[in-house]
Subunit: 125 residues, 2 copies
DNA sequence: CATCTAGATTGATGTTCGTCGATGTAGTTA
DNA sequence: TAACTACATCGACGAACATCAATCTAGATG
C-alpha cells in the first residue's frame, strides 16, 4: 500500500469528501504545528502548575478572595498539608506567574494574577 | 499577638481600608473553598493531561485539522517519539476526554472534543 | 543584644512519570 | 491458511515529583 492508497483509504474510512482539500496535504506525514517545541515546553510548565489538587485548592482559595490578598499563614489549614509543603506548592504557583507574592513584615501575602489565567484560557480557545 | 492583632496588622500592612468588610471574615483561618477535594482531583487530572510538551503538540496538531480527524500513523513523525510512546500519550489525552479515538480497519483516527476544552476554559475564567 | 515567629530551604524517601525495546493483538492481504 | 501491518500493552529504567522533619533566614519584639 503506497502513499496514495493511504489517502484513498483515509477518505473512504473517514466517510468524508475531500474534494476541497489538497490530496497531498490530507496525508502529509509532517504538518506544520501550531505549537513549536519551545512554546509547548512553556505552556506545559504552566499547566503543570495546575496539575495538582493541592495547588488547585490553594489557587481557588486565593481566587475566592475576590481580588483581595490572602495570608500564607492561613494556607496550611486550608490545604491540610505541612508548612514546608505549602511553601513548596506556592513557589510553583508563583514561578508559573499565576500568583503574586508580597512579604510584609513576618507575613507573606498572595494575590491572583488574572492576566496569566486569561492567557491560559486563550490557549484552550 | 492574638487574633485581632492579626486582623489589625493585615489591615495596616495591606494598606487598604476594610471598613466594608466583616473583621472576622477578613481573617478567618478556614474559609469555604470553591473547589472541594474531589473536584480538585478531577480537575488536576485534566490539567495533567495538558502538562506535557509532547501531548500539547499532539493536541495542537489534531486541533489544527480544524474539526477533521487525524491518523495515528502521522503522529510519531509529528512528535518525534517512538510508536509506543505516542500511543501512551494519546491514551492519556483520550482518558482525559480531550480527544476521541476511532479505530477503522488498521488505522486509528483521532478528533478533538471541543466541549471538554471549553469546560477547562470555564474553570480558568 | 537575645529571643521569638513566619516562612523558605535542605535532605531524604516513596511515588509517579516519560521513554522505548520487546511482545501481544486485531485487522488486512495474498 | 500464513504473512503482514498498525496500534496497544508489558517491563524496565532513569528522571521528576510530593511529602515532611529538621534547619536556616529575615523580621519583630523586648
Amino acid at each position: 500500500m503506497d502513499f496514495f492508497d493511504h489517502c484513498r483509504y483515509s477518505v473512504a474510512m473517514a466517510n468524508r469528501t475531500l474534494q476541497t482539500l489538497d490530496p497531498i496535504a490530507c496525508c502529509a506525514p509532517v504538518r506544520s504545528d501550531v505549537l513549536d517545541e519551545a512554546q509547548a515546553v512553556l505552556l506545559a510548565n504552566s499547566f503543570a502548575a495546575l496539575a495538582d489538587p493541592i495547588r488547585l485548592r490553594l489557587l481557588s482559595h486565593i481566587a475566592a478572595a475576590g481580588g483581595a490578598e490572602v495570608c500564607a499563614c492561613d494556607l496550611t489549614v486550608v490545604s491540610g498539608r505541612s508548612q514546608p509543603t505549602v511553601s513548596h506548592h506556592m513557589k510553583i504557583l508563583v514561578d508559573a506567574g499565576l500568583v503574586d507574592r508580597d512579604k510584609r513584615g513576618l507575613w507573606v501575602w498572595y494575590r491572583l494574577v488574572p492576566s496569566r489565567l486569561d492567557a491560559l484560557r486563550a490557549v484552550l480557545g
